[in-house]
């Protein structure tokens, strides 16, 4: 290679490095701009048992509230219980949203677990099992990273913790925190925590999080106890704009919860 060839190559390399620096710094700037999201968490009660496993009533309800991202629990994938349908993809197709299903257990010839639906595409997806005693149902957290139109990424997770004791669900919450709280990326977790606000799982285990919801009960359909939650992180960089428990839907034994939230 001649001297001028080497010089050209050097210039190209310099340009490439400059472009990389520009891209990274642009992403960094985008990440720091404030943004708002409408989020929902909804336990669909044994994959739509109360709607004869039809997704339509769920789609109709979700459409009314226009959430950007939804955490769902108790979904079947191709089980004999729900007539062999893929509940998550069917619901997503009704809404036009991007779906992801996370298996927690194999069940009745198919799978059972969690889902996230999003208006915006996923960059990362991973289902992480949570520590579960051998005589209890395996639990998990479905973690996604969503790319927003503003150029920012947000980590969004759905979970469903054990219902039998606060001690067990507290261990699960700790493991979930280890998966989710690893950097400063705006992070949201929604789900059926099966524990009340005063119990250790919430009061201590979720201390590092901003709670987007209040203490109003969320279960059953005419609610008497608070067990569904929406949390955000970093605590000091997020706030609740509005929050609502949607009661008496007639399609689940849980009330969907919906919040508009802001990240700084």
């Amino acid at each position: 290679m001649g001297k001028s060839g080497k010089l050209t190559r050097f210039k190209i390399n310099l340009l490439l490095i400059f472009c990389c620096i520009l891209t990274v710094s642009h992403q960094g700037m985008a990440q720091s701009n404030p943004f708002r999201l409408k989020i929902m968490s909804f336990n669909v009660c044994r994959s739509g048992e109360l709607t004869q496993y039809s997704v339509i009533p769920f789609a109709d309800l979700i459409r009314q509230y226009q959430p950007d991202i939804i955490a769902l629990q108790e979904l079947d994938y191709m089980t004999s219980r729900n007539t062999g349908i893929d509940f998550t993809t069917k619901l997503a197709a009704e809404l036009g949203m991007f779906p992801v299903f996370g298996r927690t257990i194999y069940y009745k010839g198919g799978e059972y677990g969690l889902a996230v639906l999003s208006k915006y595409p996923f960059l990362q997806v991973k289902t992480e099992p949570l520590p579960t005693p051998s005589d209890k149902e395996q639990r998990a957290v479905l973690i996604t990273e969503v790319r927003l139109p503003t150029g920012q990424n947000v980590r969004f997770a759905s979970t469903h913790l054990d219902h039998s004791s606060d001690a067990i669900s507290a261990v699960m919450a700790q493991a979930m925190n280890d998966f989710l709280l690893k950097d400063d990326m705006p992070t949201i977790v929604g789900g059926d925590f099966n524990t009340r606000p005063e119990e250790g799982t919430i009061a201590n285990g979720m201390q590092q999080w901003k709670r987007f919801c209040n203490d109003d009960p969320t279960s059953p359909d005419i609610p008497t106890k608070k067990i569904d939650y929406l949390f955000g992180y970093p605590k000091e960089k997020c706030s609740t704009i509005s929050y609502q428990v949607i009661e008496k839907t007639g399609i689940s034994d849980h009330c969907p919860i919906v919040a508009e939230v802001e990240f700084q």
Partner: protein
């Protein structure tokens, strides 16, 4: 009496045999057999216009749905199956097609362009536990999904699209950092980049195959990139519908 009984028994056996034969035939007609495959052979279908235009110009996906349903496949790649988002509705053809063909959809995002969410769809016949997408430069993203396919073979199905030369350096670096024994990468690239990619992935470390559409007005080609533990057995192009969509059907094998 005994002879009569014997004859009746034989007649009954023949009837049962004939009935079983007829009913088996009906089952085979109604559904394609699952892609159980032999010798670690895997079938992948890639749908594209080969010109980096979005796959669907209208909201008619029937021809693609019918083609997916009629063929055995482990993975279906829908190149540029963009979603459209507005304040009143979202159109997401990938999810509609997945629902109609009973597949799990995975979206490989490329970029936002106004109301369009550009990217490709990966449809698989199983739930996934993981997916990662690495934006490497503006409009270029490397995506990878671990799958278990025919005969329990592990495969990291991956994809990337190169539109121009400026995307090559960081895109190729992402490919090289992630390519292993399990990787099967189906990519699309501008025809002008073909020689550069061939040079980049030459040698004994890689197996690099290119395929072009025989249709007119195409500006892109498809490439298959693996390590030498995989090989391309055959591929065939089919025109899908009458609107310029092509399907390349690849049979690849884990050696």
């Amino acid at each position: 009496m005994m002879v009569k009984m014997k004859k009746i028994n034989i007649l009954l056996l023949l009837l049962i045999g004939f009935w079983s034969f007829i009913s088996c035939g009906k089952e085979e007609d109604s559904l394609p057999e699952p892609d159980t495959g032999t010798n670690n052979s895997i079938s992948i279908q890639a749908y594209s216009r080969f010109n980096n235009e979005k796959l669907f110009k209208a909201n008619d996906y029937a021809a693609v749905i019918s083609q997916i349903r009629s063929k055995q496949n482990s993975v279906v790649l829908l190149h540029r199956v963009d979603a459209t988002i507005s304040s009143t509705e979202i159109k997401n053809p990938m999810v509609t097609i997945a629902e109609e063909t009973v597949k799990i959809p995975v979206f490989a995002w490329t970029r936002y362009a106004g109301a369009q969410i550009e990217g490709s769809g990966i449809l698989v016949g199983q739930t996934i536990t993981e997916m990662k997408s690495i934006p490497t430069s503006d409009g270029c993203c490397y995506v990878s999904v671990p799958l278990t396919v025919t005969g329990g073979t592990s495969m990291n199905f991956s994809s990337i699209t190169f539109e121009n030369e400026t995307q090559l350096a960081t895109g190729n670096a992402a490919i090289k950092a992630n390519l292993d024994d399990k990787t099967v990468l189906i990519g699309f690239a501008a025809k002008s980049l073909q020689n550069k990619l061939k040079t980049e992935f030459s040698g004994k470390t890689y197996r690099f195959e290119t395929m072009e559409s025989s249709g007119g007005n195409t500006t892109q080609f498809l490439f298959l990139l693996t390590n030498p533990k995989w090989k391309l057995d055959e591929y065939k192009e089919t025109a899908v519908g009458t609107d310029g969509i092509s399907c390349i059907d690849l049979k690849i094998e884990k050696l």
